[in-house]
Symmetry: C2
Subunit: 329 residues, 2 copies
């Protein structure tokens, strides 16, 4: 397998991107194509042991920044590492592309018909899936690709999310739910209410509407939502987890006795952190485009990049794009 | 001051409702009118020391349950404790009404023109404000009264929220923001984008759009959002806080050393819990109706009811309804 990786993607690029790629090449035995500024990539690779690994560099003269607007990126940076990386997948020179860069930019480029991958036939709107890092690892889709949605988009998110979980986790007939502010049918906004009959008639294992609490606990394998709400759920979850962690640290340090308690309990806190670590679950697959693209978190470290590459190769191996193509048709 | 309290509101009514009312009567010196089933209220009061307190009972033959649909409540239970309590405010026999019952029911009854309070002239949609229990105590409005909103509703939520914070916390010119999935102007859904120019031209101290992370940290005093999104933010926050607490408990109990650490750090965890305790911040004021109504959490204990009564009396004393009436006009 050949995986293209954006060397200029993460906030601290190219170090995490290149190091994570080397880790992945060693762990999975795949060929990795690093895309970006050749001198910088070479300098980074020189620090690492790459003996026996298949590491190729494809130069790209531009890079997308986190503050670039998607429209600017798509048209204004035709030789960005994202354009080149997506192009490698389009041309069959790579099986997947992984980037920790600007999500909107990656989305925009991937969706382009001529230089990107375009959409899978019949897909109205590609969507970002995110695996939630709670124990049951539920998928939330969409997580920001489409701020304004129609019921038929949400129906397709359900189809794509269900096929993703089925293929990736081997769960037959995954439970699909709408994320809402209440379980009762009268709850929800107009979009939710109009989507319910579509999901009911879809043949999916639609279990109804669930609140964030049930979603977090894994009541559904797939939580369907518009991209605005999905992004708000993820960002609220991150905000509260971070707020609580800081509050606990502050309060534990507030007295000598609790500080000793905190030291003794340190391994427990570490386990909590690793349970909830978003790096473990890889990146967000861009579902509905005609190829495999993973967008990892901008804050990704090398380990997170390696995990995202592992996820990408599994999506390829499990033929998720093919499954979605058949499922949408 | 005279505060009417729904004795049949909370999940465990009438105990928390009646006990909290007695606590409030003692702490604040107000007259409390308990509304609900007279024999049950009398039995509960008999267990408590009410010497020197002004406790009145107004009988109501029906009660609203948490599963009642608002439409059923409004028309089908004309002698519910909610109808009677709201009626006491309408008739000037009470200054405010506090209930820990069904939010939709309270809203529906309060908004009725003939038997409820009706809307403040010019208010398009009353909204539920919720004080977020993080350190800066920001207000999020709407929290579920209006799942589908128009830009002009959000503008009014900003006006009402700003006046509430100004009067209640003494903050001049509170910072108002839209809660969005990104701070940049290109982010957000159509509703957000259409609301921006209205807030800009409003004369409010509109600081732009903020993400949940900034909201939690108090970047704005007032976070404006549609009721669906606001409710999702609150419910996601509760879900993650509860999930993390349980995870920490489990991991601390997982080994004898961490368990000892947990015991030593116990007071720190208690302080974290009390910081984030929603009971501290009272209930959700129903802003935009022509009178003072507070909806407390169904899970309220006596202390939470007492706090909600304290909040109600402060809203009355600070003339929040009068301020909103002038502000909207």
């Amino acid at each position: 397998m050949r995986i293209a990786v954006d060397a200029m993607g993460s906030d601290n690029h190219p170090q995490p991107d290149v190091t994570g790629s080397v880790m992945a090449a060693r762990e999975f035995g795949d060929a990795i194509i690093l895309v970006g500024d050749q001198p910088q990539i070479e300098a980074e690779l020189a620090k690492l042991d790459t003996a026996g690994l298949s590491m190729e560099i494809v130069h790209a003269s531009q890079k997308v920044t986190m503050t670039d607007k998607p429209s600017q990126v798509v048209k204004g940076k035709p030789d960005s590492s994202m354009h080149v990386g997506v192009g490698l997948v389009r041309d069959g020179r790579a099986d997947a592309f992984v980037t920790a860069g600007n999500t909107g930019g990656a989305l925009g480029i991937a969706m382009l018909r001529r230089v990107g991958l375009g959409r899978i036939p019949g897909v109205k709107r590609p969507a970002l899936g995110v695996i939630f890092p709670t124990a049951e690892r539920p998928l939330i889709i969409d997580n920001g690709a489409n701020a304004d949605c129609k019921p038929e988009y949400l129906l397709q998110f359900g189809v794509m999310g269900s096929l993703y979980i089925e293929r990736m986790l081997g769960v037959p007939n995954p439970r699909v739910a709408l994320i809402s502010n209440g379980e009762e049918e009268g709850k929800g906004n107009a979009l939710i209410k109009e989507t319910i009959p579509l999901l009911r008639a879809s043949g999916l294992n639609y279990i109804g509407n669930i609140e964030p609490k049930e979603f977090v606990l894994g009541a559904a394998h797939v939580g369907v939502t518009d991209g605005f709400t999905g992004n708000i759920v993820i960002k609220t979850a991150e905000a509260i987890a971070s707020y609580m962690s800081n509050l606990i640290k502050t309060e534990i340090k507030a007295s000598p006795v609790t500080a000793v308690g905190g030291l003794l309990a340190k391994s427990a806190f570490k386990r909590v952190g690793s349970h909830l670590n978003p790096d473990e679950v890889g990146g967000a697959p861009l579902l509905g485009v005609n190829g495999v693209v993973i967008v990892a978190h901008g804050r990704s470290n090398a380990y997170a990049i390696k995990q995202a590459i592992g996820q990408a190769r599994r999506i390829v191996a499990q033929k998720v794009v093919e499954a979605i193509t058949a499922g949408i048709a």
